[in-house]
């Protein structure tokens, strides 16, 4: 049984926007598999290494998974809690500093999930193309 549970943000219509992003053309399969695999490893690690997850300066509640593929940074953003949960609320492909609007959206979604847990679900590993 993994120590940590990873969750994905759901929009108001119930769409898993994190899985949607991972299945989009913006994220090559190589990067999507890296994200899924990192989640599987992090789920079993009590303390996450900084090379895998890092805080975002100026946004104390948000953290990002650090995934690099072909020189691009794939940056799922999320927050801890409650307990051993980490909810991914937004994501971006950005080599440099994350734009403010991305972090604002992530914070808004974090607040939504904190007030309504139904706006998140267990991280979905299944790709859309293989969903039955």
């Amino acid at each position: 049984m993994p120590l940590w549970t990873f969750r994905d943000y759901l929009d108001a219509g119930g769409t898993n926007v994190i899985r949607q992003w991972m299945d989009s053309d913006e994220v090559p399969l190589e990067a999507a598999v890296k994200i899924d695999t990192r989640i599987l490893f992090l789920a079993d690690l009590p303390v996450w290494p900084p090379q895998y997850v890092s805080a975002i300066t100026g946004w104390p509640d948000l953290l990002e998974l650090r995934v690099v593929y072909a020189g691009n940074q794939y940056r799922p953003l999320g927050f801890y809690g409650p307990g051993y949960e980490f909810t991914i609320v937004h994501a971006a492909v950005e080599k440099r500093k994350l734009p403010r609007h991305v972090l604002v959206t992530a914070t808004e979604r974090m607040n939504i999930v904190r007030s309504d847990r139904r706006r998140s679900c267990a991280h979905e590993f299944r790709k859309k193309s293989t969903a039955g």
């Binding site: 695999t37 990192r38 599987l40 690690l45 979905e124 590993f125 193309s129």
Partner: protein, 199 residues
Amino acid sequence: MSSVRSQLLANFQDKKYRDLFVAEQIFSGLPAKIRSMRMRRFDSQGAFAGALGKRQSWVSQLENPNYGRLSLTTLLEIAAVFDVGLRVDFVPFSEVLDAATSRTREWFDVPTYKEDRGLAEAQIATPHGAAPEWVEQLARGNQPRRGLTIVTGFTGQAGIGGLPMPPKKAPQIAGDLGITGTVNQSASGVLSERRYASA
């Protein structure tokens, strides 16, 4: 929602996905494992680097899951410094999937040779300590010296070279070796050790 395993199994229908998944089990997993083992054994990346005869920046790369250039030679060098084994093997995808979905936190820190409880069965020792040359004789199928007393296991914290072994395994080992045995109990009635002497 279906289990993680069944979701990944569905993704494995895509050959590219399963090939990438295999690669990431190595490149995403080993850096975390190296870091965990290094942190328990060394004070810093620099100290670990010194033991390897490398620079600290090299260790920093090793612990970065985005580095992705771990060579077999490097892994063997690391295994030697950590005093652990290294297994590189071709396996069915089902094994990859099982390993990825049944891992525990213990996976990240491998015991050293001296800490390895799994080796306790192979640790045959005299009451005064390990007798490696005698173990070697056994490995070659030779009979041990007549009359030699062998302590095969202790209960509690005591152990041979810090390697406690469940006493219930002792009779089986003794039987395999063709050695007759006796069981000694302490005054309190608690089984403290079993001694076996060659016939």
